[in-house]
């Protein structure tokens, strides 16, 4: 059984690609066969975050247009054997993605026996975003605790509930999860930032993960190693928890409070 998961948000810059890369790695690290697809045609970036930008020969649009076989376009990850990346095309042709083309590629990946297909959606609500979510079984809606991100997420939730194959066929719809990123417990405590519970209440959805704001995320994208692979980082542990929850484990949320600094750390500044 293949499960198709879309990582989406509406608003740009909230951490969709970072999340796609880390969740894909997390699933693969647990032995799942995973392919992660960049749907941001014209603005390819997943390859950079995954650290495989110099190995892109063929892309998603090449496969759709029949310029190459699917196998030629799948980039095998060098760290995790069961992980594959399908890069976005850098074409400026907006019509390069078609519903039939996307379906053909997804069907072929399903026939290949992948456990998970992750669709990294572009920002906005245009064609790329629409096609990234259309065939999904599940959706991870990435949201920052900030007004414009929360509002846009609600808009995306409306689209997931109406403009997807599952919604149209009426077979239960797409299962939706919230994933909060850039969470700053210190600012939440001082009333400057909405809390997990606030966001949960406004959007009426369960939270599958809360990733604390962390300098490790930028360091990870700088080096092309998804942050989940940096075992020292809180962001990594938070992503790994989210992956476990995606797989059905029930774990309490962590990193919702500011870490308590020990006596020596406070004395000598740590």
């Amino acid at each position: 059984m293949t499960e198709i998961i879309v990582v989406t948000s509406g608003k740009g810059g909230v951490g969709k690609t970072t999340t796609s890369a880390s969740v894909a790695c997390g699933l693969a690290r647990r032995g799942k066969r995973v392919v992660v697809i960049d749907f941001d045609i014209g603005l390819r970036n997943l390859d950079l975050i995954m650290g495989c930008e110099r190995r892109v020969v063929y892309d998603f649009v090449n496969v759709i247009q029949g310029d190459c076989a699917l196998k030629q376009a799948l980039i095998k990850d060098k760290r995790l054997e069961t992980l594959h990346v399908l890069a976005a095309s850098q074409t400026r042709d907006k019509d390069a993605l078609t519903a039939e083309g996307v379906k053909r590629v997804l069907d072929e990946l399903i026939a290949e026996g992948f456990d998970y297909i992750l669709c990294d959606s572009p920002a906005g609500i245009e064609k790329g975003a629409h096609l990234a979510m259309y065939y999904a079984d599940r959706a991870v809606v990435v949201v920052n605790p900030e007004v414009s991100s929360v509002r846009d997420s609600d808009r995306i939730l409306g689209l997931l509930a109406s403009k997807t194959q599952r919604a149209e066929q009426g077979n239960g719809g797409v299962k939706e999860h919230l994933l909060l990123t850039r969470y700053n417990p210190r600012r939440v405590a001082s009333g400057e930032m909405m809390s997990v519970d606030d966001v949960k209440e406004i959007l009426g959805l369960d939270v599958i993960g809360v990733v604390p704001e962390s300098p490790d995320v930028l360091a990870a994208s700088n080096s092309g190693v998804p942050v989940i692979l940096n075992d020292e980082s809180d962001a990594s542990l938070a992503y790994d928890d989210a992956v476990a929850r995606l797989l059905g484990e029930s774990l309490p949320l962590r990193f919702l409070e500011e870490p308590k600094r020990g006596f020596f750390a406070r004395m000598f500044g740590g």
């Binding site: 609600d154 109406s162 009333g191 400057e192 606030d198 209440e201 406004i202």
Partner: protein
């Protein structure tokens, strides 16, 4: 400024954000799914009714619902007291 105001803390910006979002999200959700022409349709129907009866703009309700596989356009107009007699 009264003395009490010195001790009263303004609401935190997070709670202001939450309140604003609660309102706008509820508003956008209620408009969701209805076709784009609905507001215009409502206005035109109101104009036609207005030629004959002086109704309150708020008294015209238009709803689009689902019923056993087909869509139902429901129009309800509350007429003012006098015209009913």
């Amino acid at each position: 400024m009264g003395l009490l105001a010195l001790f009263r803390r303004p609401p935190s910006s997070a709670s202001v954000a939450k309140e604003r979002l609660r309102i706008i999200v509820a508003q956008e959700r209620s408009a969701r799914g209805s076709p784009d022409y609905l507001p215009l349709l409502r206005r035109e129907i109101l104009q036609v009714i207005h030629k004959y009866v002086n109704v309150d703009p708020e008294a015209v309700q238009i709803n689009l619902g689902q019923e056993e596989g087909h869509e139902v356009l429901e129009l309800s107009v509350a007429l003012p007291e006098k015209t009913r007699a």
